[in-house]
Amino acid sequence: MPERLLLTGNHAAAYGAMLARSEVISAYPITPQTMIVELLSELTASGRLDAKFITVESEHSAMAACVGASAAGARAYTATSGQGLALMHEMLHWAVGARLPIVLTNVSRAMAPGWSIWSDQSDILSQRDVGWMMLFAESVQEAQDFIIWMYRVAEQVFLPGMVGMDAFILSHTAEPLIVHDQEAVDEYLPGFQPLYDLDPEQPRAYGGLVNRDHYFELRYKVYENMERAGQLLIDAGEEFGEVLGHKYTPLEGFMLDDADYVLVSAGAMTSNVRQAVRDLREKGIKAGLLRVIAFRPFPVKQIRQKLGGRKKVAVLDRNMSAGHSGIFAEEIRSALLGRPDAPPVYGYVVGIGGRDVRVETAHEVMNDLLVRDEPEMSLFVGVKGLPIGPLRSDYEIRPLEPLEVMR
């Protein structure tokens, strides 16, 4: 029978890995992810989870161990955060090229320096192009369930996937959690069948040298499988509802059907945005929410369908790509580009480095959206001493320093 417990997001992630019957766990502790590793090491030590726990000296090695384990046919799991995910970067590519369906939980935190352990999407979004699937959890429940959902799809398309959850807001906050019945999860997620069996009697090298004649085709297949994963996430999310009681989708709308003004959000801050939408509706403003759950593969068609024809769209980014804009805003603009019914997309950068994104913050964004005529790439919300707006117009761009004339 399912259990109902009060648990933090980190412990929920550990339960997710356990319910998924992860067979090899290799991780390196890092704040704010440490509790995941601690609980999983306890669960394996006690025998409650039948898995091999491999301690390593770095996140790079943690992912390398997962790569080896997955290649050998084991369901492999790891968790990390911020600098740790950055250190894994090379091995993240390896998992994609070797077509290994590893699942990773990233407790998103801001990148150093300045040294910060607080919530921020920059770490995970910096891995946008490695070829991992990416899901953004909003709740403790999702921190657990998305691991199971992700394995279900990853092992079909032989691509790895990561689940992002917000530092502290989810990782260290306890919420009621339904821990699913193991038999039901087993029904949903059968054992992992690897692409190739590693046999010591017949030693082979996997992922060896590929010349210019052949690499492109291998990568093309990665793209094809990522494309296929888009539909499989929908189907597997549906199945999750049938077998485990809650249906998941790559996108989630709230009061969206007749909304003129749509706020787009991802991750834990969405809960506050949702509350703001409720408030706005009471005031008679036709506001709505679109929550992005699947970031890779990006649900381009559904985004077009959900946002086409709206009066204005505001995208809340807890990240920013210096030199461009918030990354969600950029992705959504690009999905809508050239569509005849494309709404203007206003990019709002909020909550950088763990600054709170409150219900009031969402109201401030909506107030600005209603009166602002021109969509901007980036509108900064809450920079001290500055109103909501683009880069300040009175900022003096200093000319190039003159060269010292050599005499």
Partner: protein
């Protein structure tokens, strides 16, 4: 590489087929492997005889003259002769000319040097006599080549010829200044020394009957050439002097000039030889040719030398009528123009109706010779009267073979040599010895796009230097020096043949090429990066899919 031409045939990830141990050395990364492979150089592919040119060059480079000579002799026994008169199609094929802006390798001149260096090297006496006797009729290049290969194979060979001396067109057709008689005689002596019997002054059809030869010999090869004069269709033809007969008379020192101003009709090699010989005898020669230089079949080099000798060329000039006017000949010629291409691909000359008259002391025809097939019974000829032959020169009669100009009409010396060799091989097989001939060169030819010219030395092409002599009939060029030959061979990319240049050894980034008198690929460590294949100047290496060479 087979199987990987469509994305659907690709695996999800590259997996090596097998490693030799669980300790995976870098060789296990490999999905393709370099293989040192003998491929055909374009020079060899263009050579009618298919001589393994980079191979004998490599032996010359190593100063192994005997090995070079024996490689050559597998396909052509007369380097001294073809080294002088061959149209060297090999050089047309040379990858250097396409892959660089340099001139092709001077292959014929190296061949000539090889021939001269080995002039005194006797042909090997056959190790085992078969006891079979083969008759060869015609002692020209085809007959001589057939005699060489048949004798070398252990058969007794008797060569018959209608003239008093052997050599055929080599002795009686090609002028002395291009091919000295001494060179031809040297080859005949060497054939005699290996046991070939020459019986002269016996003509097929009169002194010899084909059926008598068939009765007396295990096989007969007929190569009596093409010396019959083809009708020119010119009114007053009897006033023309046949060009080939003139060349024979000149080679016998019996020719005399009809006067100072001479004309030669035709644009082939015989026309060039006649014109140049006349010019050297003191005449002022004009070649009358009905098409233009672009369509002229003569070897370009011979045309250029004719120009150097002072020969004049009248293009688009078709003689129509020759009449006698006192002691002069009056030639009425019609101006032609080029029309649509004919079956040979050359533009056809069309009459314009405009005529003029030219005056000469003598007019020579060199518009092509024809073969005399009269000695052959009808059953061996096709409906056009040509001999009915397969590719090796076999007639419908299993004992009778034919080849050379007799079969093809006027062609080159090397083509006659190839015909002689092919017939010898076919006769040898017919007599029960099919397996002792080398395989034909592989069809896989190295293309100009594959070669790497980055590391080749750049210097002028070595060509036969002009001879300094006052005698217009002495050989007009000299043979290269050994130093020139070795320098010229340095320019050779050695297409498709590993000449142990060491480029792969130098460039392998993994030290996976070992050196045992030549490259050896260490498959324990070769990652299959393909750099060696790209760097190999002559592309004597190829990448093959590991699946094709390794166990599954």
């Amino acid at each position: 590489m087979s199987g990987l031409d469509h994305v659907d045939n690709y695996p999800e990830i590259p997996v090596s087929l097998a490693a030799t141990s669980t300790v995976l050395k870098t060789g296990a990364w490999r999905s393709v492997r370099p293989v040192i492979r003998i491929r055909t150089a374009p020079c060899s592919a263009y050579c009618p005889a298919g001589i393994s040119i980079p191979e004998y060059f490599d032996h010359l480079k190593e100063e192994k003259l005997d090995e070079a000579h024996s490689v050559f002799m597998e396909r052509n026994p007369f380097p001294r002769i073809t080294g002088r008169v061959c149209p060297h199609l090999c050089e047309q094929g040379c990858n250097l000319a396409v892959a660089t802006d340099e001139k092709p390798l001077s292959i014929r001149s190296i061949e000539r040097w090889l021939g001269d260096q080995t002039a005194d090297l006797p042909h090997p006496y056959p190790t085992e006599e078969t006891g079979k006797q083969v008759a060869v009729v015609g002692a020209g290049p085809a007959g001589m080549a057939a005699a060489y290969y048949l004798r070398r194979s252990g058969h007794k060979v008797t060569v018959f010829d209608r003239r008093e001396s052997a050599g055929g067109i080599l002795r009686y057709g090609i002028p002395e200044y291009r091919l000295p008689t001494a060179v031809v005689e040297n080859e005949i002596e060497k054939l005699e020394d290996m046991g070939v019997e020459f019986r002269m002054r016996l003509a097929l059809g009169t002194d010899l009957k084909l059926e008598d030869l068939e009765a007396a010999y295990a096989a007969v090869f007929v190569a009596t050439g093409a010396t019959g004069q083809r009708s020119t269709g010119i009114e007053g033809e009897s006033l023309l002097e046949p060009g080939l007969a003139f060349l024979e008379a000149a080679n016998r020192n019996l020719a005399s000039l009809p006067g100072e101003r001479c004309a030669v009709i035709g644009g082939g090699n015989t026309a060039m030889d006649v014109a140049r010989m006349l010019q050297r005898m003191g005449a002022k020669v004009t070649v009358l040719y009905r098409r233009t230089l672009a369509e002229m079949p003569a070897i370009e080099e011979e045309y250029e030398r004719a120009l150097e000798d002072g020969v004049d060329f009248n293009w688009l000039t078709q003689p129509r009528k020759v009449t006698k006017l006192g002691d002069k000949l009056l030639v009425t010629v019609e101006q032609m123009r080029l029309g649509t291409p004919d079956e040979s691909g050359r533009r056809r000359p069309e009459p314009t109706g405009i005529t003029r008259e030219l005056r000469f002391d003598g007019v020579f025809s060199a518009t092509g010779e024809k073969a005399d097939t009269a000695p052959f019974p009808d059953r061996l000829r096709d409906s056009h009267g040509w001999l009915d032959l397969d590719g090796d020169g076999a007639t419908k009669d299993p004992l009778v073979y034919a080849g050379g100009d007799l079969a093809t009409g006027p062609a080159t010396v090397i083509e006659a040599v190839v015909a002689g060799r092919n017939a010898a091989r076919a006769i040898d097989a017919e007599l029960g010895y099919a397996d002792r001939w080398p395989a034909e060169p592989p069809a896989d030819t190295v293309s100009p796009a594959e070669v790497n010219v980055t590391y080749m030395p750049h210097h002028d092409r070595a060509e036969d230097p002009p001879a300094v002599t006052a005698d217009p009939f002495a050989e007009e060029t000299n043979t290269l020096t050994a130093a020139d030959v070795l320098g010229e061979i340095d320019r050779c990319l050695s297409c498709g043949y590993c000449n142990t240049c060491g480029t792969c050894f130098v460039f392998c980034p993994d030290g996976a090429i070992l050196w045992d008198n030549g490259p050896r690929i260490d498959h324990e460590f070769c990652k299959g990066c393909g750099i060696c294949v790209n760097e190999c100047p002559g592309h004597a290496m190829v990448l093959v899919n590991e699946r094709e060479v390794s166990h599954a």
